[in-house]
Structures are given as structure tokens and as C-alpha cells.
Symmetry: C2
DNA sequence: CACTCCGCATGACAAATGTCAGACGGTGGT
DNA sequence: ACCACCGTCTGACATTTGTCATGCGGAGTG
């Protein structure tokens, strides 16, 4: 039902850490039914490699220079609908999982799994099924959806690097009072002490 | 010169990401003169493994649950002076490098190097030499030493999660005015807009 | 259509934060 | 011994931030 010809699963591997990517390539190559057809060290590179080699499954690191795994997945979905995407990550933030699934990603696993297990998951994804790490899924469900409105999230993001209200107001083209109001509402929705703690919480949950 | 008997270099591998640790173990095992005698997924585990197996070189990830690579290195230095320590990291913050060298670490490399290169560096370290990634070294020199006094750093750290001044004052057993003063001085020394930006900068440079 | 609800926006007031001038004690140099 | 210097510490004052009451306008409902 996958409409694919038989033969080894053709993989694209993208991760900016050469050490990990190389090691992973070697290890996955040991599996008889898997073959790495391309490697990339950044988001844009992953895209162009995918176009050139049309892999069956793309294994993407979530954090890469240029464009993160989810952005790459979105583009791939449009350009190569036959290519399944599997995301691998070190720090699993709940919000990222949600964004990833919305981008059509078929698998989402932390780097704490073994290579053996990863190979199995690659086969699962290639067969057309989905796979999400149970622990990350639980976290995502516990965290739930973002309670923030678009404006609140926007303002909170501008506040992320400790900028004063005046600067946020200018960048968002709002009055200072309005900015304070949004921040205040975001802070109370998140149950934080102040806006800086709120930024940390929102980041943790992947809402910004 | 190293006072060691000849034979393969005995390695301890510690990294909390199973995927990477396993892949790395496989890849390094391919080198004839390297052999992995122990693996660990956390700081404390790395220590007990090192005690049990007395490796020639310990390859430690900088960020691990329990105790980070530098803390482990400090303990190892005291308990197994013959064991060289090589630290591997994803996000190289200048301050970490400095702390690592003070802890007697012999090598410090980012995960962007290839496994082949890592094997060479392991041999370099085992031979008694030091190796520090040139780019990380340049960053560390550019960042320089922390200009913060002990108190300033302490207060800044307490401010890290967005706690209000009153709470910081209580936790540091200081008056609120004093706390503000330290924060103010830290902020101006770092050239930041406010204390939150200062926290970010100090973290970036590895000064907290 | 009228009504209600909710997100968006604003200004006034209270509270927290940042800035300043200055006091005290220990260290090192003369 | 004396002095200058630096880190530590404090309170008073200006600025920034957080909270509140309130107004405006579109979406959904009766």
C-alpha cells in the first residue's frame, strides 16, 4: 500500500554535528535493508540533498543552522510528498512535537533511543505508519495547547531577550500600555511570577 | 613517556544520548588501537564506571544529568590521576572551556568534528598532549575572564530564573538595596540593557 | 436585528527595579 | 603607621514595570 518498489530503504541523514551524523550513518548502514543516499549539515542543505536524491525517509535533527527540522519537513511535504520525515532531537519540547505533526512529520524520537531501535522506527515510518516517542507524547499532552493569543505570543517573544517595554512597543507598533497589558495577561495565563519567568515557561513548553 | 604499558587505548564513553554513545562506541571500536571498556549515561555513573575499569582516556559529554563533564573531570583528577579526560560538547560556551582546563581536562572538542578526527585527538591526549578546538579557543580568548566579582555572579545567578529582588535578597541574606546594587554593577560591566539581558550574556559566555 | 462574548487597545495608579552618593573594613604599597 | 584602593553594603530618589477599570469593534447566537 505504500506504492513503493521493493528494495532497501533509501535514507537522507541531516544533523549539524558531524560526529553524530557520521556515526549514525555507519551504524545504520550495518542494517541490510537501509542505505544512506545523502547527508546534510544544515536545513537548506538537507532540502537540496533531498531534491537531488529523492530519499524514501528523511531523518532530520530538530535543531540545525539555517532552517530547523520542522521547517525542512514543511518544504519537503510540498516538494516530495512521497518522502516520509522522521525527526530526531536532543531536547524534546512539547510544542515542537505539535508543530512537527502539523507539518506532516511521521515520526518523532529523542536521541536517547538506541540505534537498533531507531532502525526499527525507520522501518515503521517507511511502512506508512507513524511513531511518536511515548514519553514525549505524554509531555505534549500534559502541556496542552498554548493559551496565548497571537498578539500575546508575539509580544512575549519580543520580550524574550530582556528588551524594555519601550523597545517592544516600537517593534510591535503598539503603545507601551498595551504591551504591558499583553505581557500581564500572558504572565497570568502561564501562572508565572513576572514576564521573564513567563518567557522561560513558554519556551519550555514550546509555545514561543 | 606516558608511563603506560603498550597495547590498545582503553576508553570510557559517557553521554546521556544513547543514540550517540552507541554509534560512537561502534565507530571508535573500528580503530585497531582503541577499545571501549565502559559506557555511562550520567555523571555519577561515569564516575563509578571509571573506578571499576580504570580507563586510559575518559571521553565525557559536557552536559549530562547528575553531574556535568567538568564536575566528573574534577573528581577523576583526584581519584584516578592516570586517567586523561577529553570533553566533547554540542554547544561550546567559552567559560566552560576555561573551567574545564582548570579541572585538568586534557582535550576539549565540539561534536562537529568527524569520528576519524576524534580518534586522532584521543591518541593525542593519550600520548600526554593537550588538544583544544581552535575555534572554541578563539572564542574563549575573545570572551576573556569574567569581570564579575563573586557576589555579583552569585546574585546574577539567583536572578537567572526571573525571581524578584525581594526573593534574591532573602536567598542571599542581603538587603534589597544591596542586591540592586550588585545587579546594577553586573549589568554595566556586561554592557547589558538590564539584568535579564545580563543573565543571557553571562550564560552565553559561561560566566554563571 | 439586538445581544453577548472575546480579543484588542488605552491611560492612571501602585509596585518593583535601576541609579546614585556615600559609609565601612580589609589589603597592599609607601 | 599611614594612605589609597577595592569590594561590600546601605538608604533615598527617578524610572520602569505590573495591575486595574474601561472603551471599541468584530464573531457567533438567539
Amino acid at each position: 500500500m505504500s506504492g513503493r518498489t521493493t528494495g532497501p530503504v533509501r535514507l537522507l541523514l541531516a544533523d549539524d554535528e558531524h560526529l553524530i551524523r557520521g556515526a549514525l550513518a555507519t551504524l545504520l548502514s550495518l542494517e541490510d535493508d537501509l542505505v544512506i543516499v545523502a547527508e546534510a549539515a544544515s536545513g537548506p542543505e538537507a532540502l537540496s540533498m533531498a531534491r537531488a536524491h529523492e530519499p524514501d525517509v528523511a531523518v532530520l535533527d530538530l535543531q540545525m543552522p539555517g532552517a530547523d527540522g520542522v521547517k525542512v519537513a514543511t518544504s519537503l511535504r510540498a516538494e516530495l510528498p512521497g518522502c516520509r520525515v522522521l525527526i530526531v532531537t536532543s531536547h524534546g519540547r512539547p510544542g515542537h512535537l505539535k508543530r512537527a505533526l502539523e507539518a506532516g512529520v511521521r515520526g518523532f524520537v529523542p536521541k536517547t533511543v538506541s540505534a537498533q531501535r531507531l532502525a526499527e522506527i525507520i522501518r515503521t515510518v517507511h511502512a506508512g505508519n507513524r511513531y511518536v516517542d511515548p514519553e514525549l507524547a505524554a509531555d505534549a499532552i500534559a502541556a496542552g495547547d498554548s493559551p496565548l493569543t497571537a498578539r500575546e505570543a508575539e509580544v512575549l517573544e519580543l520580550a524574550a531577550d530582556g528588551a524594555p517595554v519601550a523597545e517592544i512597543a516600537e517593534r510591535a507598533a503598539l503603545s507601551q500600555g498595551t504591551v504591558r497589558n499583553y505581557l500581564s495577561s500572558a504572565v497570568s495565563k502561564l501562572g508565572a511570577e513576572n514576564r521573564h519567568a513567563a518567557v522561560r515557561l513558554a519556551r519550555q513548553r514550546g509555545w514561543v
